[in-house]
């Protein structure tokens, strides 16, 4: 392709954008808002998933045994754990070891616990991790009420709620994204349709002179892609700076909430948004030009 032809495409596209400047601004705005919501939802989903992952990996089931449990009975429970496929790993913590851990946790104030060696109140415990967080509750139920088991504990309720929330956010986010994406495509299609319509006579003449369909189409395609890209650029800039502003303040005030702050991942996400804007613009203009090419 010749440089002159390429210049021609860009010149035509630019002229068209300036000629319909208000509609161009509106299209850019809709793309920007759509992608802003899309990007925002993606970040929320990403963070909800991150928090869930964090909690999941720290969730374990503690099976506290009765003091009077015999080594045979303990072995029996261990065999049961070995036989369950959902068990990822387990450790057996004797009452002595549990006391040891507790002393460590207390650090300098471990004197409080002095003398407890004689009559250790802590029970023998199995600490069990499952492969998936959904398996925690059913597993716990299997051990509750066994003769040798005193109590079974895990982070009841919290994890399930978080999973449900992240699921809901994902669905709502996705629906909004798709709807706004479609709206953006059609607004760009309308913008391009106007500029195609304003130049339908020119297109007709071009076709008579032997212009290929791509020659006619490309300036409009460029116009649409420019509008899409401009919109996505605005949203990306807003999301990028907004997001790091938010995580900075969260890390100060709520340091225990694990936020996704991996810059490479965020940049990848932003690149995705830019590409999506380009795609929305291209789709919108292709829809509009198709009808006018039959001469």
């Amino acid at each position: 392709m010749r440089l002159r032809t390429i210049c021609y495409y860009f010149r035509e596209a630019l002229q068209s954008i300036l000629r319909n400047s208000w509609l161009s601004v509106a299209s850019i705005g809709v793309v920007a808002v759509s992608l802003l919501i899309l990007g925002g939802s993606l970040l929320i989903v990403l963070n909800a998933g991150n928090v869930a992952d964090n909690l999941e990996s720290s969730v374990e089931v503690s099976i506290f045994l009765k003091d009077e449990a015999t080594p045979e009975q303990i072995k029996e429970i261990e065999n049961k754990l070995i036989g369950l496929s959902e068990v990822a790993q387990y450790v057996f913590v004797t009452k002595e070891k549990a006391l040891e851990e507790m002393k460590q946790d207390f650090g300098e104030e471990k004197d409080i616990l002095a003398g407890l060696e004689e009559k250790n109140p802590l029970p023998d415990t199995f600490r069990v991790k499952t492969h998936m967080v959904e398996q925690v509750a059913p597993l716990a139920r299997q051990f509750e009420g066994l003769a040798q088991v005193d109590e079974v504990r895990y982070g009841q309720g919290v994890v399930e709620q978080l999973m449900a929330l992240s699921h809901w956010v994902r669905i709502a986010g996705l629906t909004t994204m798709v709807l706004l994406g479609v709206a953006a495509v059609f607004l760009i299609a309308t913008t391009i349709r106007l500029s195609v319509f304003a130049r339908r006579r020119e297109i007709e003449i071009m076709k008579f002179l032997g212009a290929t369909n791509w020659f006619v189409r490309l300036p409009f395609l460029l116009e649409g892609m420019f509008l899409g890209l401009a919109g996505s650029f605005i949203s990306v800039a807003a999301i990028y700076y907004g997001y790091f502003l938010i995580i900075n303040s969260i890390q100060v005030s709520l340091p225990f909430v694990p936020m996704v702050s991996d810059r490479d991942l965020i940049i990848l996400l932003m690149e995705g948004l830019l590409f999506l804007g380009l795609l929305i613009g291209a789709a919108g203009s292709m829809i509009s030009v198709r009808r006018f090419l039959k001469v």
């Binding site: 032809t5 032997g210 212009a211 369909n213 001469v295």
Partner: protein
């Protein structure tokens, strides 16, 4: 060069524009298509530049059956054909030079080729001094000269002119006819639909008369009517 074999063209609604027409145009010929409005002149020309498909029959252009041409090949057919219309069809926002250059840009010509070829054709039609004017500032005859320049700038083998003098006064028309004669003498085939009986009668070229979608007369060195 162009052959039509038993071509019939029906438009939706059962209107028969051409009825079993067979004809042959030779290279370098100057052909007048005459006949009343609706006789099928425009349809015949549209079949050659593939704006319309024949309902039945075949159209051969330069040995190629263009009824079988694929849609994406059509632009390359049209680049071999220069078209001149009654309403000029110039782009109002482009200058004379740009209008002609546009026909070359479409084919992917380089700036150098354009800068060489456009002044050449403008010189030939006698409008070199109006290169930077906009079409609306030109007279009808001048506009038609621009559109003729545009039609010949890519050196087509065929010129199709649909009533090129339909909107022009007799003197201007004769000027244009001399231009077409010039082009014809360089070996370009010209097919021209017209109602200008005095021109046809004086030029003594091949005359093909259509009526009701059929060829009713085809004579060398003909006149407008018997």
């Amino acid at each position: 060069m162009i052959q039509l074999f038993n071509v019939t063209k029906m438009y939706p609604g059962g209107i028969k524009a051409l009825d079993d027409v067979s004809i042959r145009f030779k290279k370098g010929e100057f052909i007048f298509l005459v006949g009343p409005s609706g006789a099928g002149k425009s349809t015949l020309m549209k079949l050659i530049y593939r704006e319309e498909h024949p309902t039945r029959g075949q159209v051969i252009f330069n040995g190629k059956n263009i009824t079988r041409l694929r849609q994406r090949e059509v632009p390359y057919l049209r680049r071999k054909i220069g078209m001149v219309f009654q309403d000029f069809r110039l782009l109002p926002q482009k200058t004379v030079f740009e209008n002609i250059a546009f026909a070359m840009e479409i084919t992917g010509a380089s700036s150098r080729e354009i800068k060489r070829a456009v002044p050449e054709v403008l010189e030939m039609v006698g409008l070199a001094h109006k290169a930077n004017e906009f079409p609306e500032h030109l007279s009808g005859g001048e506009q038609q000269r621009v559109s003729i320049s545009r039609a010949i700038v890519n050196r087509p083998v065929l010129i199709i002119a649909d009533e090129p003098t339909g909107n022009l006064d007799p003197d201007t028309s004769w000027g244009l006819m001399n231009l077409f004669l010039d082009i014809s003498q360089r070996g370009t085939t010209i097919i021209m639909a017209t109602h200008a009986w005095d021109i046809v009668s004086n030029m003594k070229k091949r005359v093909v008369e259509l009526a009701g979608g059929q060829i009713v007369r085809d004579e060398e060195k003909g006149t407008y009517s018997l």
